[in-house]
């Protein structure tokens, strides 16, 4: 079966590129799974989403936290344009946990709740990308 050519790019660098069997991302409308021969799609990704790239062939899945951005699919090419992205393997779990706790604390206090809620979302996405269980 044909494979997808996947590129995950952020403005400052190209995070990852390679071939894969399936890409799962979260758009504003909901989760979307892309397999080879998918129709061309341009989607807006949600803030604090998790991207999963199933590489197949026994290779481990690539998981990344993606904060905002776009997904574009055409001719078996998938590009993830992320404003901020972090590979699961690069996430500093302790720091992300810290950030989550802080964000949650300030949500409870009720200060700048919009900012804090977004922070909490990002931290959760990072933890999930790193393979941690998050409530």
């Amino acid at each position: 079966m044909a494979k997808l050519r996947v590129g995950v790019v952020s403005p400052e660098r190209e995070l990852w590129s390679g071939e894969a069997d399936m890409v799962i991302a979260k758009t504003i409308d909901g989760e979307i799974g892309i397999m080879p021969q998918h129709a061309p799609v341009l989607g807006v990704l949600v803030e604090g989403g998790v991207l999963t790239v199933k590489r197949g062939g026994g290779e481990p899945d690539l998981v990344a936290a993606v904060h905002g951005g776009f997904l574009s699919v055409a001719n078996n090419e998938v590009s993830i344009l992320a404003e901020v992205a972090e590979l699961g393997s690069e996430v500093d779990v302790a720091r992300a946990k810290n950030a989550l706790d802080r964000a949650q604390a300030s949500v409870e206090v009720g200060q700048e709740s919009a900012d804090a809620a977004a922070d909490a979302k990002r931290a959760r996405a990072r933890l999930r990308a790193a393979g941690e269980e998050v409530g």
């Binding site: 590129g7 660098r13 799609v41 776009f70 997904l71 574009s72 055409a74 344009l81």
Partner: protein, 298 residues
């Protein structure tokens, strides 16, 4: 020791220490150009993809009717983003950009549009505040290694001013990095967006996209990102150009200092030789006079 000799020695010493500084600056700049170039390269994939996505949306929707792409009928004020450096020691880098910005301002005024400067880089900010010009916005402190967050901040201010109809056009005056030796000042208009049909025609016709959620929503969030990415690449190019300009300026300063040292050393040697010659002729003269006096007595 003669006064002239001492003076020359002192000047050589001071020129030598200047040469040391400029040489160090030159080396620092050369190493930073490489880094800046790498960052430019790293930003290319994202920019390419975002241009492709914008082209994709535009070619799929019959009429692009987004506020950011519509040209205003009677533009009255235009924002001019001027990208300069934070530090000097880079030759004509800032002067060239500012001169071009002034020229653009004149051109806009002749069309009845009032230019509003938005300035990046401390040198440009000082230039404007010294002349008492009002600025629409100013950012400094990151000109030699801009981050995407900086570009986002700038783009946010520009886009919101544009959306609020405070300004009707946005132009950018910056330096484009062509190569280590060539950097050009360029003037571009970034808003309203002219969605460029890229010069190179794609080999395959662009696919017919589906949109998640809708074409309008995608465009809404895509266009600001596109502007951000344009601003970011402008900042990166400007940073690389700044280092290249600084390297060149510092290299010619070092060369000049070395030439001065050579000339002064020659002059110093001449002065020393003249002094020695004079001393010898004085001694010989004195000895002769003594000898003559002794011969006269006899």
């Amino acid at each position: 020791m003669g006064a002239q000799l001492r003076l020359l020695r002192r000047r050589i010493k001071s020129v030598k220490s200047t040469a040391k500084i400029t040489r160090a600056q030159e080396l620092i700049a050369s190493s930073r150009i490489v880094k800046a170039q790498q960052r430019m390269q790293a930003a290319v994939p994202y920019e390419r993809e975002i241009i492709r996505a914008v082209t994709g949306v535009v070619s799929n929707t019959a009429s692009v009717d987004h506020p950011l792409t519509v040209a205003r009928e009677t533009p009255r004020r235009a924002g001019v983003l001027i990208v300069t450096s934070d530090r000097g020691f880079c030759g004509g880098f800032n002067a060239n950009v500012l001169r071009e910005a002034e020229a653009l301002g004149g051109l806009l005024r002749s069309r009845g549009i009032e230019p509003v400067p938005y300035v990046v880089g401390r040198k440009g900010i000082t230039w404007h505040s010294f002349r008492g010009r009002e600025m629409g916005g100013q950012w400094g402190g990151f000109s030699d290694s801009p981050a995407y967050a900086n570009a986002k901040e700038i783009a946010d201010v520009l886009i919101s001013a544009f959306s609020a109809e405070e300004i009707d056009e946005i132009h950018v005056v910056s330096t484009e990095f062509v190569s280590m030796l060539t950097q050009n000042v360029v003037v571009k208009r970034i808003l309203p967006l002219e969605v460029e049909e890229t010069a190179e025609k794609p080999e395959t016709p662009l696919p017919y996209f589906e949109f998640e959620p809708t074409a309008g929503d995608v465009l809404d969030s895509l266009l600001p990102r596109y502007v951000e990415s344009r601003v970011f690449s402008t900042l990166l190019q400007s940073a690389a150009s700044e280092h290249a300009a600084r390297r060149r300026a510092m290299k010619s300063a070092t060369d000049n200092a070395n030439e001065l040292i050579r000339v002064f050393t020659q002059q110093m040697n001449q002065a020393r030789q003249a002094e020695i010659t004079q001393e010898i002729s004085e001694i010989v003269g004195g000895a002769n006079a003594l000898a003559d006096a002794a011969a006269g007595k006899e």
